[in-house]
Symmetry: C2
Subunit: 646 residues, 2 copies
């Protein structure tokens, strides 16, 4: 008789143990259904469960530690570092708590906001550090409530450094990390995953090593889910510590903290702060090359790789935690050498999924923000609801005000001088603007010998996918069709395609051709005549800054322009052209002319007036070719338009 237990949906109790349906987990939406774990549970599970699952499957992982930067432009840089390093597949990142930097505030550089950025805008599983000494219960509760509200789900509970030289216990206060752990569990039940610190050599202030182990066990008993250790210089140090922990009954995961030596001074500073001693054999190598940063880094990478290999080979270590010092090269290099950097060209959806618990179910977005995903998340953050995982009704209030336009993650990463070099120290006519767009597309140097690597609407160089359209894009930009977004049509490419693929393997992805551009009213007049010939095939929306709006979209319904068909799944349509949200995007798209470009120049200067003229008089146009199995007709539409104008 046939009876395949592993496939049988018989009783809800049998599959409880595999972590897919933990009590109170947000993963199981339909309680009366079988408790089968969802396939892309990765996104839906708690950090401690992800860790356990990786341990069970033998799949090694890594994590990355960052500290909050001091300046707003440092924050902008760190955000793009999150994006780049996030692509390598860390299980999580963590952000340290800097008591001196107003860590719980709304400042662009606060620990809270940096961690929130990592979760919400970069889609990274994130741990926020939090220290407790010298703070009141209410202050701490306030921080935790704010963290929860911002979508943070994991806390690293630390004591922190006492204020004075000689620290005195406060009777009613938070004296140790264990007090913070207890407080989190008391006030927030099981909401947060809690991490605590372990000291492989013992905490410098502990009576002795054994006493420190006992303190660690207290933190675990109080509710910590796992341990990350302080850095160390020899694998034996960690392995002994781990055995000692196990010996006194600590069974939760213990993650070694790895510090790739990146320079002489950073090493010295860290050693001073942590009161660790650098082994003589390392000092012997470093001292002679202390002025050669590259040499020290190479040595540091070498050292880290071999120590990590020893740890992984021991069979006791399943994940590695890296102290990055906010730098990219050394850690990435170590991970690549270890074969743990798993950059996967495929994405779960064609855009970066936010890790905020409320936004997990989101599976549709308007195409307009394709190059400004953080702006989209920011502007829609006040939405209460993503009904049924859909991007929902754009007529709901919110959709963020542009008054907050200057928030750091909406700004360009490049400084003013660089932008001027790219976009022109001086503009002489509309045509000099056309030239900037054209150089951005072609990658050729501009008249002054600079490469245009970003535009107000695209902070990054041209996407690989857009490269497929390069030749046509160049031609039209030269003539004043100033493109800011486009995608080719795709008629069923495998979901594993390195350029256009996304979603689970075994599926097929599709696209309708899309083109979005600014252009003059003369061109729009001709374009509208041409579009009559393409009436049902091409949908268009044409708006100007005053809100004049010309469209042939049927009853303002969204038009799906990206979708995928996957084995055993419902259809996913992650990108749409939504007529209503286009009017919100229009505000942002026109504002970028002024905020990012015109304001580079003096008021009343000819350059500024040229940009202002374009802002005031041009139209923003989007076109969709609905007939995705045929050759993209949008280029023909544009050609016909130019012909009509001649």
């Amino acid at each position: 008789m046939v009876n395949e237990n592993q496939h049988t949906c018989s009783a809800s109790s049998s599959s409880k143990s595999d972590g897919g349906s933990s009590s109170g987990s947000e993963g199981s939406k339909d309680s009366s259904r079988c408790s089968t774990p969802v396939l892309d549970a990765e996104r839906h599970e708690r950090l401690r469960e992800k860790m356990r699952r990786r341990q069970d499957s033998g799949d090694k992982w890594f994590s990355l530690e960052f500290f909050p930067p001091r300046t707003a432009s440092g924050a902008v840089n760190l955000t793009s570092r999150f994006d780049r390093m996030g692509a390598g597949g860390p299980l999580f990142i963590d952000v340290t708590w800097h008591p001196a930097g107003d860590p719980g505030s709304d400042k662009e550089t606060s620990s809270m906001i940096i961690a929130s950025t990592a979760v919400n805008y970069c889609g990274l599983e994130t741990i926020l550090h939090m220290t407790c000494c010298n703070q009141t219960k209410d202050e701490i509760t306030g921080h935790l409530q704010k963290a929860k509200r911002l979508g943070l789900k994991n806390i690293m509970a630390l004591r922190g450094d006492p204020a004075g030289e000689e620290w005195q216990e406060e009777v009613e206060g938070f004296n140790y990390a264990v007090d913070l752990v207890k407080h989190i569990r008391n006030e927030f039940d099981d909401y947060f995953d809690i991490c605590v610190a372990g000291y492989p050599k013992g905490h410098p202030e502990a009576e002795n090593y054994e006493a420190d182990l006992r303190h660690l066990k207290e933190k675990v008993l109080a509710g910590a889910d796992f341990i990350i250790t302080q850095l160390f210089f020899r694998s034996e140090t960690f392995l002994k510590f781990m055995k000692d922990c196990q010996a006194i009954g600590i069974t939760c995961p213990i993650v070694p903290g790895i510090f790739p030596i990146q320079g002489y001074h950073s090493l010295r500073q860290l050693v001073r702060l942590s009161k660790l001693e650098v082994p003589q054999e390392i000092k012997d190598v470093i001292e002679p090359i202390k002025d050669n940063d590259a040499a020290i880094r190479n040595y540091g990478v070498e050292l880290a790789v071999s120590m990590c290999r020893e740890l992984l080979d021991s069979g006791m270590v399943h994940g590695l935690h890296f102290y990055t010092l906010n730098r990219e090269v050394a850690t990435t290099e170590v991970l690549k050498r270890l074969g743990m950097w798993t950059e996967d060209p495929r994405r779960p959806l064609p855009w970066a999924v936010s890790a905020h618990p409320k936004r997990r179910v989101e599976d549709v977005r308007p195409i307009f923000w394709a190059s400004r995903p953080k702006s989209y998340i920011y502007r829609t953050q006040e939405w209460d609801d993503f009904p049924n995982g859909r991007w929902g009704n754009s007529s709901s209030p919110a959709f963020g005000e542009l008054k907050d336009y200057y928030l750091f993650y909406l700004k360009s990463k490049s400084p003013r001088e660089e932008l001027l070099k790219m976009w022109g120290e001086e503009l002489t006519s509309e045509e000099s603007v056309f030239e900037v767009f054209t150089c951005y597309i072609t990658g050729e140097l501009n008249k002054n010998g600079h490469r245009v690597t970003c535009m107000p609407w695209n902070d990054d160089p041209l996407a690989t996918e857009t490269n497929l359209l390069k030749e046509q894009l160049e031609k039209v930009n030269r003539r004043g069709i100033l493109t800011i977004n486009s995608q080719p049509n795709i008629n069923g490419k495998p979901s594993t395609d390195p350029i256009v693929g996304w979603g689970p393997s075994g599926g097929y992805v599709f696209q309708k051709a899309y083109l979005e551009f600014f252009t003059s009213s003369e061109i729009v007049t001709a374009l509208l005549k041409v579009l009559k010939k393409y009436e049902t095939r091409v949908n268009y929306h044409i708006v100007n800054v005053k809100g004049q709006n010309i469209t042939n979209a049927p009853d303002l319904q969204p038009n799906a322009v990206t979708w995928g068909i996957f084995p055993g799944r419902e259809i996913i349509q992650p990108t749409v052209v939504d007529p209503v949200s286009f009017l919100f995007w229009k505000d942002e798209a026109f504002a970028l002319w002024i905020e990012q470009w015109a304001k580079l120049y003096e008021e009343e200067s000819p350059s500024r007036m040229i940009i202002q003229y374009i802002h005031d008089n041009y139209y923003l146009v989007n076109l969709v070719d609905n007939d995705f199995p045929l050759e993209n007709c949008l280029w023909q539409v544009v050609d016909d338009t130019f012909e009509l104008l001649n």
Copy 2:
């Protein structure tokens, strides 16, 4: 400057007048969006608006009148007549109110239930007649409330025939149709569209023609939306009546009631009831041929066609209402001759959409009920909600009990004797069952010379689409893979395709190959071995009557197996294989073996025991080939299974 007003979404007031956004209409869901009418407004609008729009566009329409049958089997027949005549594209049908037949009851043959069947199960816009004399206010309110609950939105308000010979006005009661119109408007505001009767020759009981016109105007002033007339024999009669109505200020639509003469006796009876006089020239033709039904019908068709042409040519008539007498041939013939029978092979969705207001938004269904759509609607009728137009969460309660299994629209249309001829007077083995399935597929005569035109799971002959799979289906049924549902894979055929197309034109439709069958446990054992080779490509669900359930479906998510991509629209995925609803379908599918087949035979008879054995021991299997762009692999799966068994 460009300014295309007809496309401009500027102010919500400008497009109010075109009927797409009437006050309180259910059509506009997002009040803060522009009030652009939805494209397939046909389904979303009120009858009076549909009528007005057809009049504006000059697109002539027709409607069909039926009366409730006397017997349950008559009701089953009428339901399939609704399906067939509905295919010709009537703007609405109406069902008369038979006071003698307990018209407001839950009987299979009541006016209320017949009208509700037309709306809910046949997806037809329907008017329920209602008479008011000899009834209390409460009785009438009760009927109207029930009608509303059942999804009826249109009432034909009539006086009805008084009980006694000599009718006396009741001071407080409902004496005239106008009282009923007022009552409906008082109690139900604008919920119902109201139709009233007009008498081109004047009501037989009216003082005179002019007084009757005044009564008609009163009914319109009281809130009637349009008028349908009593039958007449000359177009001049109607045209004069219409002018007279207009002259006294009746401006609502007036629809001529057309009676194609279908036989001598039915004409005489109608004339007697309506107190009309048949013109001498008609009598002269009919009397000599009164025993030749075919001749009379031909004459009736001829007469009706020429009268309808005169009416339409007058330019005053936009729609024609047909008194069908529950017959099909004459009315269909007239409509075809007039070029108004508009059978369109394309469907708005691949299944018949229910016209119940609550189910309008439904756009996904499980594939299992493909051949039993009425059963699906019946079993899910208690659902409160179709969230976002989706078929929603099958774990919600309801999903109709099978205890109501004997309801007439779940029964076979064929009588027992016919079923025995088709499915075998006597079965000798499981193989004789295989033979029945095979004959159904091939269309060949069975051993006793009868054609198998239906099966318990399919009340109609094989669908055109399934014909594409005929050869393979025959092969596997012969060997005991007893197929009850299947569809070929389709990789982007035009939505206008006559066989597989559906939805708006200019789109593309897709399908994953699907196969559903009963089979023995021996075959299932082999099949499961074979399926290991197809692990990600083929999804399967295998259940038996006891509920044993074997599947490789990821986390019990629905698998989309039919979808369409259309210009300017979101993606529509109208059919899914839903693992949870499959378990509900399983109950129905297994029950049909017993209820429809086994019970044809005596208890304890060998034939009955064979069917019972199959019911108790076979499995119900469904297979989906996820790789829709490749050649359907399901036949290979089945071939491999048979090979393994050999």
